[in-house]
């Protein structure tokens, strides 16, 4: 199968406009004849479901939480990028496009990224109209701040709770459609399979998490907006419930998986305290605007925050400012993370040894504590709450943690996967961010996909197939899929082994972090592959899931998700093995410059790796989508 990205011909700036004109339309009065399923209600899902409902489609939306408002987009802190150039500092759509392609280390499609930058402008307008209380200047106009990987201030924010406010805006829009009867909302409901009939996605199978009832839902199209798969690492900044099951089941039904090894490690997270740790908490990257990252020049094991103040300037190493004078503490996330790891590997880490300081002393001296409190108050409070230490008095301690997955289901320009009628939006697709995502770009992509891309592209497919191309849930394929889901649930409940689900998950996570985390080697990855295979085999013979299937059973939910992570983890390792270059968040130790920076191999690897599922315990097949760069010159990224 040849991958067709469907990037429109023509100059970059005209592609989307021309494409929108060329897309087929569905007549307003015919829209009600089409049924759409949206899975997930984060920024991408809520905005898509609301916008499609407004257009007149019949939408069914699903989320595993008790309310759409709980989706993990809510936890995004720092902000959302948009090329408004309100600051008159030289920003433009082209510059946002350029920064994003460069920040992604030239592993994203030009056409997609340009469209993202183009639509970013409308997103801010939309959110303000919804009543999202963005930060403002005294004159009443919107405020901006700068973020990693950019030299302009283009990030809009709502204190440290931008994701919350944007999601609540989209949630409001979704609620409006629920009230209007155009969206039917299913909460505490988990998607467990996609139904594909004659090569087209025709519905999904779900499990009601309260009653345990397994149900079939049919539609003309299925839109997955189910987020990333960082939880394959067990410890990540994702919510506990975030999982890859929806996209993994879609993958097993024919959707190719793009660049699974591209994961983002965020540099500013609160360090791990012990084996009980259940998740990691991120401190917004915006902190690096005013915080300075440092470790002592000579190793000082166990150095505490309160003792940091007494270390003279001459004995401190502000390693990011030293190595990258022009970007300083605002280098992209992958660069900041890798450097933090490096100084800790040298033995210069502070606290437990796996931490570096993020110091606000100078900023507080310069601007006063009240200014810093106004900017970051809630982040400082959160830090104090979790660590029991006062960050106004001594520096914070931070360490990198898994935060985002750039990889995901392969989609074309229309956001359709390789299964016709099956779309993937937001973090669960692979597009736009290449090998590394810039800060404040996830919110932008989720909302661009949901508000401004899918409402156009979905109509083209629907107009092509026509409203009669729908299958009822009485079709044998639905029954078969339901039986499959039930069998799997019963199998998980019948094993009654010795280990808990979390024990397997933690072990998988440690393996992934060790061998497929911040830096990767061929030897390590091969080892990881074997460990994961063994762990998976053990899981299916030795996991202990108590209770029954017809009740609220949180262990059963977790077990299904971990079973999928145990398969996805291996694909990530395969992808990391195949890509023997370093790019963005993917650092292969075999491929680095003499200064230890990531070394890309554009001749060999300027492609998207799209993996096709070939059956249980069979190696996945690799398909390559070559990346063409016509508007951006490929250079070794430099933030020096």
């Amino acid at each position: 199968m040849k991958l067709d990205s469907k990037i429109p011909e023509g100059p970059l700036g005209e592609k989307w406009t021309k494409h929108k004109f060329n897309l087929k339309l569905v007549n307003p009065s015919n829209k009600r004849k089409y049924d759409v399923i949206v899975v997930g209600t984060g920024l991408a899902g809520a905005s898509a479901a609301a916008s499609l409902g407004e257009l007149g489609y019949n939408v069914k939306a699903f989320c595993y939480q008790d309310s759409p408002r709980r989706a993990h987009s809510i936890a995004a802190q720092g902000g959302i990028n948009a090329a408004k150039n309100y600051q008159n500092d030289g920003d433009s759509v082209f510059r946002l496009f350029y920064d994003t392609v460069k920040g992604g280390d030239y592993r994203a499609r030009e056409g997609n990224v340009y469209r993202l930058a183009e639509t970013s402008v409308s997103i801010i307008d939309q959110c303000v109209a919804q009543g999202v209380p963005f930060a403002r200047e005294y004159g009443g106009l919107l405020a901006n701040r700068s973020f990693g990987g950019a030299q302009v201030s283009r990030t809009f924010y709502a204190r440290g709770q931008t994701g919350q406010q944007l999601l609540l805006g989209a949630y409001g829009a979704l609620n409006r459609q629920i009230a209007n009867g155009k969206v039917k909302m299913y909460t505490r409901c988990e998607m467990l399979d996609v139904v594909v009939i004659d090569g087209k996605a025709k519905g999904i199978i779900t499990r009601d998490m309260v009653t345990g009832k397994v149900e079939a839902h049919s539609a003309h199209v299925v839109v997955l907006c189910t987020g990333g798969y960082s939880n394959v690492f067990f410890l990540s900044t994702s919510a506990k419930g975030c999982n890859a099951s929806a996209i993994w089941r879609a993958h097993k039904k024919g959707a190719f998986f793009g660049n699974p090894c591209f994961t983002q490690i965020h540099p500013t997270c609160i360090p791990v305290t012990g084996t009980h740790q259940s998740k990691l908490t991120l401190m917004s990257e915006s902190l690096r605007n005013d915080g300075r990252v440092w470790v002592p020049k000579k190793a000082m094991p166990g150095l505490k925050s309160k003792d940091a103040v007494s270390i003279p300037e001459s004995e401190r190493d502000y390693f990011l400012e030293r190595k990258y004078p022009s970007f300083g503490n605002l280098v992209p996330r992958d660069v900041a993370s890798r450097n933090a790891k490096q100084v800790c590997d040298e033995g210069r880490g502070v606290g437990s040894g796996l931490a570096v300081f993020l110091d606000f002393t100078d900023a507080i001296k310069r601007d006063g504590e009240s200014t810093i409190r106004a900017k970051y108050g809630n982040l400082f409070d959160m830090y104090a709450q979790i660590t029991g230490e006062n960050p106004y008095k001594g520096p914070m301690m931070i360490y990198p943690a898994v935060h985002y997955t750039m990889g995901g289901l392969w989609v074309d320009y229309n956001l359709m996967t390789t299964v016709p009628g099956l779309y993937a939006l937001g973090e669960c697709n692979f597009s736009d961010h290449g090998a590394n995502r810039l800060g404040a770009s996830a919110l932008m992509q989720g909302l661009a996909d949901g508000y401004f891309v899918i409402p156009y592209t979905i109509g083209d497919y629907l107009a092509t197939i026509g409203w009669n191309d729908k299958v009822g849930t009485d079709h044998p394929a639905f029954n078969e899929a339901m039986n499959g889901v039930n069998e799997r649930v019963n199998k998980l409940l019948s094993i009654k082994g010795k280990k808990t689900v979390d024990e397997f998950h933690r072990q998988l996570g440690l393996t992934m972090w060790e061998y497929c985390g911040m830096s990767r080697t061929e030897e390590g990855l091969k080892k990881a592959k074997k460990i994961i295979q063994d762990l998976r085999a053990e899981f299916w013979t030795n996991v202990n899931v108590l209770g029954s299937s017809n009740e609220l059973n949180q262990e059963l939910e977790k077990a299904g998700r971990v079973a999928d992570f145990l398969e996805l983890g291996e694909l990530m390792v395969d992808d990391a093995l195949n890509r023997s270059e370093s790019c963005g968040g993917h650092f292969r130790e075999e491929s680095q410059t003499p200064e230890g920076e990531a070394l890309r191999k554009d001749d060999e690897f300027a492609y998207v790796a799209a993996w096709e599922y070939k059956g249980d315990n069979q190696p996945a097949a690799l398909h390559k989508e070559e990346l063409k760069f016509e508007n951006v010159k490929l250079t070794q990224r430099s933030y020096k």
Binding site: A50, S51, E54, Q65, D66, S67, R69, R70, H72, I74, A75, K84, D125, Q126, V128, A129, Q130, G131, P133, F134, R136, E137, Y138, G140, L141, L142, R159, Q161, Q164, Q165, L168, Y171, G172, A173, N175, R176, I178, A179, M185, T187, A239, K240, G241, G274, H276, Q277, S278, M382, Q385, I386, Y451, F452, T500, D502, L546, G547, E551, L552, Q554, E555
Partner: protein, 256 residues
């Protein structure tokens, strides 16, 4: 640390619940409260006892999913969500009682998990601005006074956890509803539907069976996001002025 836990166990909505006592010996001060329960659950599974069901998700204090009533207070002794509460807030050897939110509009689903869909229906009644995607003015077309935007933000910071209802002796949801009403009453974008919004949301709130406010301030004291009781006062004003100048909205009826 060693802790004794008295935990509400209830099989499902229909069954009668009861407290069960657990001795928990593997507790460290750095654990979050939910991590302490994770460890207990792992131990229960090892003994083939069913783990305790509780709601949680983001574990960073923002999703509003976690909802435990600890020693008679929603989210426990600190003014924070329970996922941000750490065991260093408790003493070695202490006995801790954990219950679900107690309020008639929030029926128990299992153990410590309650059904908060009543909140959803209130939001659906009017917690938004009626704008479609696209066709909106430029974001800087309408300047908003900085302190008004800040005040709207303070109200909009509500995470919808329901601690206000659990804290209130009347099971009043007025802080939750008042926060949303205030956000839009303050902002220019909310002006067009200012009256109908408050009418619809209050009507739905009443239909769900939430009680009235008698100014005990318990909700503000327990709100993990520090939502101010002035939002209730503002909602009352908004409601009053809407009622004397507008028409009455019929409610759609509550949940089950």
């Amino acid at each position: 640390m060693k802790i004794t836990l008295k935990v509400w166990r209830q099989k499902n909505k229909e069954s009668k619940g009861e407290f069960k006592t657990y001795e928990h010996t593997h507790v460290s001060a750095d654990m979050s409260f939910l991590e302490m329960l994770d460890v207990l659950n792992d131990e229960l599974i090892k003994k083939n006892e069913e783990p305790i069901a509780f709601d949680h998700d983001c574990r960073e204090g923002i999703c509003g999913m976690c909802s435990l009533y600890i020693n008679g207070r929603p989210h426990g002794p600190l003014q924070t969500t329970v996922c941000q509460l750490h065991m260093r807030s408790f003493k070695d050897g202490e006995t801790i009682t954990i219950e679900p939110w107690r309020a008639r509009p929030f029926p128990v689903i299992r153990d410590l998990v309650v059904d908060r869909t009543a909140f959803e229906r209130i939001q659906q009644a009017g917690g938004y601005v009626n704008v479609n995607t696209g066709g909106v003015p430029d974001a800087n077309a309408i300047p908003i006074l900085k302190n008004i935007a800040e005040e709207a933000f303070d109200a909009a910071a509500c995470i919808g956890c329901g601690a206000c209802v659990a804290a209130c002796k009347n099971s009043s949801a007025m802080l939750f509803v008042g926060a949303k009403v205030s956000q839009f009453a303050l902002l220019p974008q909310g002006q067009v539907e200012r009256k109908t919004r408050v009418e619809k949301m209050v009507a739905q709130m009443d239909a769900e069976g939430f009680g009235a406010c008698t100014n005990t301030y318990a909700c503000e004291a327990e709100c993990p996001k520090g939502i101010k009781i002035t939002n209730i006062a503002r909602m009352n004003r908004e409601y009053f002025s809407a009622m004397v100048t507008s028409y009455k909205i019929e409610s759609k009826g509550g949940g089950d």
